[in-house]
């Protein structure tokens, strides 16, 4: 890895946007890279805008806080775009040239103007129906964040599947204390599975599947992406 990768995740409260950034950063840390992740949200409630940021690079990272100029933007929920539930307007404000946007959607949510602006910046847009994928493989829509980080890793190759699995083990394999809201959601997802091993396996399967289909998409892309 030669250059720093800045990833901005816009989602809604309860979707695991914060956990996704933590997992990517932890995976990078396990890969021997430098990384920092931090969240940005208001009152902790479901469906409220929630953002998280993950910075990964080959040298010590000091920068923290809201990511104003990202290379990668991930949109976890269509409402980020349709109801403007993001901290920046438009949601892709600040995206760098040759950047990448991954949107969890089954249909194109961007206007013609959006497409034009992003084309002008040579930004690649990848629509992935992550929630359907999560339901299908993970067995719950709560695994949407797993599909999204899988897709991100599949295209950018910033971390490997092996490192993501280690990060997943770290986060869900042992006791973890977070805020009340996060603890409640952790409990909710644990109840979806008979055993903790199943939780880890199903979520890892979701990551792998998204990784594979995103890899295939990236291989068919003609435009050059600065994020790879």
């Amino acid at each position: 890895m030669k250059k720093r990768l800045n990833i901005r995740i816009s989602g809604l409260g309860g979707q695991g946007a914060v956990t996704a950034a933590h997992l990517l950063a932890m995976a990078a840390n396990k890969a021997g890279l430098y990384s920092i992740s931090n969240p940005f949200f208001g009152a902790e409630k479901r469906m409220a805008p929630a953002e998280s940021y993950c910075r990964i690079g080959p040298e010590r990272i000091y920068d923290r806080g809201e990511l104003v100029y990202p290379e990668v933007i991930m949109v976890f929920h269509p409402q980020v775009i349709t109801l403007q539930k993001s901290y920046t307007a438009p949601f892709y404000s600040g995206i760098k040239k040759n950047g990448l946007i991954i949107i969890n959607t089954s249909t194109d949510l961007l206007t013609e103007e959006d497409h034009q602006r992003l084309d002008d910046l040579n930004v690649a847009v990848y629509d992935i129906d992550a929630t359907s994928l999560a339901l299908e493989i993970g067995g719950t829509e709560l695994s949407t964040n797993m599909a999204m980080i899988g897709a991100c890793a599949g295209i950018t190759r910033v971390v490997s599947l092996d490192e993501l699995e280690k990060a997943l083990q770290d986060r869900f394999g042992k006791k973890y204390v977070a805020s009340g809201g996060t603890a409640t959601l952790d409990e909710a997802i644990k109840k979806k599975y008979a055993k903790k091993e199943m939780l880890l396996k199903k979520n890892m399967d979701t990551i792998i599947k998204a990784y594979e289909i995103a890899t295939e998409w990236a291989q068919n892309q003609k435009q050059e992406m600065a994020v790879q």
Partner: protein, 414 residues
């Protein structure tokens, strides 16, 4: 009592109730803090809240009082877990921040090493207690995870509350990263409890940017811990109702004679401030210095504390790519203010920028009050209400000063 302590002396003054090398009930070995910091451990990848817990775990704390307020709630809850595991003497939840700080005072009067955490509106709600702690010479440590205090409500990081804390008579340290926070919590107890200091300490960090950020931290092994607090080394008698400072509360001098009241207050306030200055030598012995400097021979300098230092480090990298050379002075302690160090570091600077995460610019005022030719000080950039400070904004401020045209940030991204 105030016997000078030579800087060559390695150890800090500590309890005589236990000896170094002895074990506590959890099997942790009482260890000199300088030795603790020299025990290599593999780096951990943790949030700031987890780092607070891990520092508390090895700090031989007798009592901690909790009250929830974002962004310190997770740290307070994690300290509760430590209590359940037997690492603290006592732990409970107060009725409000005001009650918490009063309960901390009670425990400290009783001779306990006390730790608590608060933030933003909680700091202000508790406020009356802070100068009381200082006047009563209670070496309580409060970790302040800074949060905006203005209306409309915000939970985001803003360092305005540190401005309010400046004249409380407390030691005030400002951590840049989770690593700093870990080190400062441990060093803070040792410095604050020295007989010639014996003051409360606010170990401040920027909420979210430190507490909720996952970062790499080098910790000390869990098998060692700080020597315990020894209340018999306090410079004021514990719970003596006839002598200052306790008498001031139960049977105030103002009830006897305005003159006695006046002279007691005047001398005591000076003594508290002198004690802050006396903490310098202990802090230097443990943390190495009150400031960290980089390339102070350069004409343009940034002076900052907390997260503003991190953002400045990145801005300096960015400017370097364009051939613009900028130096850096990081202030670790705000009280005591590192006057001599700052004057020396800025001696050759032509322009000094002070980026801050608050709109009052209190650090710029402190810097201006400290150095000669203070027209060199440019207060800014400043962000408020928990807004982030992109490195590009710091870089633009400096380029504008140099007359280099810049893109306007207002139109970013669209």
């Amino acid at each position: 009592m105030n016997k000078p302590v030579g800087v060559k002396e390695k150890g800090v003054k500590m309890s005589q109730h236990v000896k170094l090398g002895q074990k506590n009930k959890k099997g942790q070995v009482y260890t000199d803090i300088v030795d603790m910091f020299n025990m290599p451990e593999p780096p951990s990848f943790l949030t700031g809240s987890e780092v607070i817990r891990d520092a508390v775990k090895v700090a031989s704390i007798d009592l901690s009082v909790a009250y929830p307020i974002t962004p310190q709630s997770e740290a307070a809850a994690l300290i509760g877990e430590l209590y359940a595991e037997g690492y603290l003497g006592d732990y409970f939840r107060g009725e409000s921040e005001f009650a918490v700080m009063g309960q901390c005072a009670g425990a400290a009067f009783g001779g306990a090493r006390v730790f608590t955490t608060t933030a933003g509106p909680g700091t202000l709600r508790a406020f009356e207690n802070f100068p009381m702690w200082a006047g009563a010479r209670l070496p309580i440590q409060v970790c302040v995870t800074c949060r905006g205090i203005n209306s409309p409500l915000t939970i985001q990081p803003d360092t305005l509350e540190m401005y309010f804390l400046l004249e409380t008579g407390m030691l005030i340290w400002h951590a840049e990263t989770a690593q700093d926070l870990y080190d400062y919590i441990l060093a803070g107890f040792m410095v604050a409890e020295q007989p010639d200091v014996h003051l409360p300490i606010a170990t401040c960090c920027d909420g979210f940017f430190v507490t909720h950020t996952k970062d790499t931290v080098n910790k000390v092994p869990d098998e060692v811990c700080l020597p315990p607090y020894d209340p018999y080394r306090s410079p004021v008698p514990c719970m003596d109702m006839e002598n200052p400072p306790v008498r001031m509360m139960r049977d105030p001098f103002v009830m006897k004679s305005n003159y006695i009241s006046y002279s007691t207050h005047a001398s005591w306030q000076q003594e508290v401030r002198a004690a802050i200055e006396r903490s310098r030598k202990h802090t230097i012995r443990i943390l190495g210095s009150l400031v960290e400097t980089q390339n102070t021979d350069r004409e343009i300098l940034i002076v900052a504390s907390g997260t503003a230092v991190s953002q400045s480090r990145e801005a300096i990298r960015l400017l370097e790519e364009e051939g613009i050379k900028v130096g850096l002075v990081k202030l670790k302690t705000i009280r005591p203010f590192p006057h001599a160090e700052l004057r020396e570091a800025t001696a050759n600077a032509k322009a000094i920028f002070v980026p801050e995460f608050n709109l009052s610019g209190w650090l710029a005022r402190e810097v201006k009050a400290c150095i000669p030719n203070n027209e060199r000080v440019h207060a800014g950039p400043q962000v408020g209400g928990g807004m982030t400070m992109p490195l590009e904004v710091i870089a633009e401020e400096i380029k504008r000063y140099l007359g280099i045209p810049t893109e306007t940030l207002a139109s970013r991204g669209s």
